[in-house]
Chain length 277, copies 3
């Protein structure tokens, strides 16, 4: 539970060799690929049902993101998930927009029933939708009313642990305050900057990168997930600190990925801001 452990998780990804199969949306897919490369892992994208079983077989982890799902890619998600489970690979679900449409909610719930996930990572509204089985997410951003705050922190920590217990996996709720929990332990993480909310896909990037962390740290999924969250948040802080007058959200996007590519384990140990509850 130490900063040293998080640093080790990053060092293990930076050492290379973690290959991540992504079935992800076409909006943010390029940034997902580049941040995975920045972290030291390697991405491959495939969403054709006839292709995904072969592709996931050669990878160590599978990142399923439902951000722009369609009938064929949903079929691919189930096939790849089953194959990854069969092979004992790490599998992550990013339920983008669960609650915003019946298809997204149903797909996320269906995947949770059929596939054993190692981590489920989403914003608070998406995760609340999964817990309730239905939801009212407004688009792909979290409802402000759902936000994790200092006031409801203990309640939300308990909520996250309870859902992790139910799913028997790690649950990561990211936002202004990030919660990463298994049934017993919750990392409360305060890295990151609000400006990340004006960049599309920082959540998608985190999910892709986190899958690489899981592959590179097979015996420590909670710490791997927490380390990925701290890495992304710290990269946001570093990226923002490097902004020049006139720079905006598009350049910040680049600077955040740059910061991941340059991040050392020592830097992460110094910059990670978390407590364990």
């Amino acid at each position: 539970m130490s900063k040293q452990k998080l640093a080790e998780c990053l060092a293990n990804v930076k050492a290379g060799g973690a290959l991540v199969h992504n079935i992800t949306n076409y909006v943010t897919v390029n940034d997902v690929a580049n941040v995975i490369l920045a972290s030291g892992a390697s991405p491959i994208m495939s969403d054709e049902p006839k292709d995904v079983e072969d592709i996931t077989t050669i990878c160590g982890g599978l990142n399923i993101n439902i951000g722009t799902l369609n009938e064929k890619t949903i079929e691919a998600m189930y096939l790849a998930g089953a194959k990854a489970n069969e092979l004992g690979h790490k599998v992550l679900l990013d339920p983008v927009g669960a609650g915003a449409s019946a298809l997204r909610t149903d797909t996320a719930n269906g995947l949770l029933k059929k596939v054993k996930f190692d981590v489920v990572r989403g914003n608070v509204s998406e995760i609340k939708t999964l817990v309730a089985g239905v939801g009212t997410t407004k688009g792909v951003d979290a409802d402000a009313a759902d936000a994790v705050t200092e006031d409801n922190l203990d309640e939300m920590v308990a909520f996250t642990k309870a859902f992790a217990a139910e799913l028997d996996c790690v649950v990561a709720i990211t936002g202004a305050i990030d919660l990463v929990a298994d049934k017993d332990t919750c990392y409360v993480i305060r890295n990151g900057v609000p400006e990340m909310g004006r960049i599309t896909g920082t959540g998608c990037q985190l999910s892709g990168m986190m899958t690489g962390f899981l592959v590179a740290n097979p015996d420590a999924p909670l710490e791997a997930a927490a380390a990925a969250v701290c890495t992304m948040g710290l990269a946001g802080e570093i990226g923002l600190s490097r902004q020049q007058p006139g720079d905006g959200n598009s350049t910040l996007r680049n600077r955040i990925i740059d910061a991941v590519s340059n991040m050392t384990p020592e830097q992460l140990a110094d910059g990670a801001k978390f407590e364990v509850k």
Copy 2:
């Protein structure tokens, strides 16, 4: 018709809350999402027929871009368009490549028949194709022979107004000189820089962002569309002014989105270059 009105249009988008459903091409979709966020609105992408009605229901506007259409996404465009019309949402058509293939021309014409649009925005060759019902667009760029120039300006203003009258909506033809018209009034806009033509998707970005302007300014579609065009063009000027030696089209792309994210209503009022005809 004043600069102050354009500034108000931008201020209303910057205030937040406009949610835009995009059915758009996968080439430029990430930049479309980031420029919508830069402007203060929020994007969501969905192009699966079974998903689009739910998604468009929770949004305020729908941006339909046919840049990489396929059979399923065409079906989604019709479904989403009908639902958006039913709910009184703002709907924009970007007929990318109309004239370059029968499928694109037919899809754009078909959508114009079945869906009531608030704005149609394209390059001059695409719009001429829609008016004629057939076309000869060379790819996704306008034919030089079609360009709006100082010499044919009055004729093209009349052409734009006439098509706006026929469609009962706002028509925006963008290029070196931009024309944004309803049946009575045409904004002739001279913002922008030629270097924007060497960046993929500045037109797609404009369409996505313009839909957010329409949502945030529901009673002033002409001024909202014109304000979006001025914002994009002025951002191009600002972006170019910030280029460093060695910078090229990829960095300019970032700087333009950055300029949108930093643009204030006052800056737009100062920088907008237009006349009303």
Copy 3:
């Protein structure tokens, strides 16, 4: 075979007018479009079977990249390839991930049987897969064991020429050392930097840009392909030389495309590093 010839190839693309139809993956498509524009050519993307014949008809070249293939886009590849052959257009194959899945290997082999290509460009593992008919590529990156090195250079030059002879086209194997050969002549190119390996899609970008070089230099496919490889590699060197402290792979991606957009024929002649074997 002189540097002057390579410079002429670049000058011919920079003169404009080369229109490239891309059926390419959604991961790197935006960068492919921007680097084609940077080089002076123009891109259009289309992968719907009902659209591709019309679109390829108005272009001068077709770039087929199987990076995120699906059943519909595979059908589109065959249709567009046949039409491009019928019209005498330049056609390039980028067999992304051949060897990583049966579908990718089979599609690449099938395309090679049905479509006459002017250039096949891939990493060494992908090309070895095509030669053997089966393969063991680990994802979308080349196996280190397959790499072209100073030690196996003569053998790999012979291998590349032999495959070029078999296919009756130009074969380009890119990596730390690049080989671009027809049956008689092989360019051994030593431009580029290792950091390009941590950016997604530099290979895809090269394939798209190379297709534009082929269109603009119809009578010199070997030199056009070699010039594109030198341009991309030199852009990598220039991009890296412009990195500032804290910059990483995402910014390098932009700087490389920027360097292509600013590259002059003289600069290419000065910077190209190759020998002819």
